[in-house]
């Protein structure tokens, strides 16, 4: 168990999080979002902050099997929750990473971790998604470099790689 200490908190509350299988205990203030705790307190910088108002999907994490926007969730509400971030998906060597590099689904790359987390949540509940289902699942993620056509190809190939692995 890793304990994160931060000095001089006003209204501190202790929460326990299970991030990528590791247990964390952190003191948080009531106004801190889950994105802030993951990115700045725990140092998992793959969870990006961009719009900070729930519009772009760059901060998506998987909480209890569902993709959620971590900038729209207060950390204090997440006590005892299981969270999976892009670092955990990388650690399990998910085929999505490989296909995303293969099809160059990024230009600046800032939105890419959010896309991969959303796509992983889709593949978890639907191992063989159609093109329409992928478009619908990734609709909440915004990419201003315009990499949208590539994501569909990458997710379809990752799904076939996953099915072959099983």
């Amino acid at each position: 168990m890793t304990t994160v200490k931060k000095k001089e908190l006003l209204n501190e509350a202790k929460i326990k999080l299970e991030v990528n299988g590791d247990l964390y205990e952190a003191g948080v203030e009531a106004t801190w979002t889950l994105q802030y705790v993951l990115h700045d307190v725990l140092g998992l910088t793959g969870t990006k902050a961009f719009c900070d108002e729930g519009a772009c999907g760059a901060c998506t994490v998987i909480m209890e099997g569902r993709p959620v926007l971590s900038c729209m969730i207060l950390a204090i509400e997440c006590d005892g929750k299981k969270i999976e971030t892009i670092e955990g998906i990388t650690r399990t060597k998910h085929p999505l990473i490989e296909t995303y590099v293969k099809y160059s689904c990024m230009q600046c790359g800032y939105c890419t971790p959010g896309f991969i987390v959303t796509a992983k949540a889709l593949l978890d509940r639907n191992p063989d998604p159609t093109e329409e289902e992928i478009k619908q699942a990734l609709a909440g993620n915004i990419c201003r470099c315009g990499s949208y056509p590539q994501h569909i190809k990458a997710v379809i190939e990752a799904a076939s790689l996953l099915r072959r692995r099983k």
């Binding site: 910088t45 990006k48 892009i86 689904c105 890419t112």
Partner: protein, 93 residues
């Protein structure tokens, strides 16, 4: 105007006309199978952007903008901001 000439002109304005006659091998622009050097870093979230950088002794800055357009600042009470823990340097206009 003859029919085939009209078709040629129409094709000139078709933005996807290059996809109809792909070359087998491009040398630079449009070459297939090229991978990004930083693709793996960006896909795994390890790439460092400005927001991800943490330096020792780094200061944070906040802008407080005027709620009134074209207003003139006559005086400013900054004592509360300076009293915050870890505050360094007073507010500047």
């Amino acid at each position: 105007m003859p029919q085939d000439e009209m078709a040629k002109i129409q094709e000139l304005f078709d933005n996807t006309r290059h996809d109809k006659y792909p070359l087998k091998e491009y040398r630079q622009v449009g070459k297939r199978g090229v991978r990004r050097i930083d693709g793996y870093e960006k896909a795994t979230g390890q790439a460092k952007y400005t927001l991800d950088v943490k330096l020792p002794g780094m200061l944070h800055l906040r802008f407080l903008t005027s709620p009134y357009p074209h207003a003139e600042i006559k005086s400013m009470n900054t004592s509360k901001a300076e009293a915050l823990s870890g505050s360094q340097g007073g507010p500047a206009i």
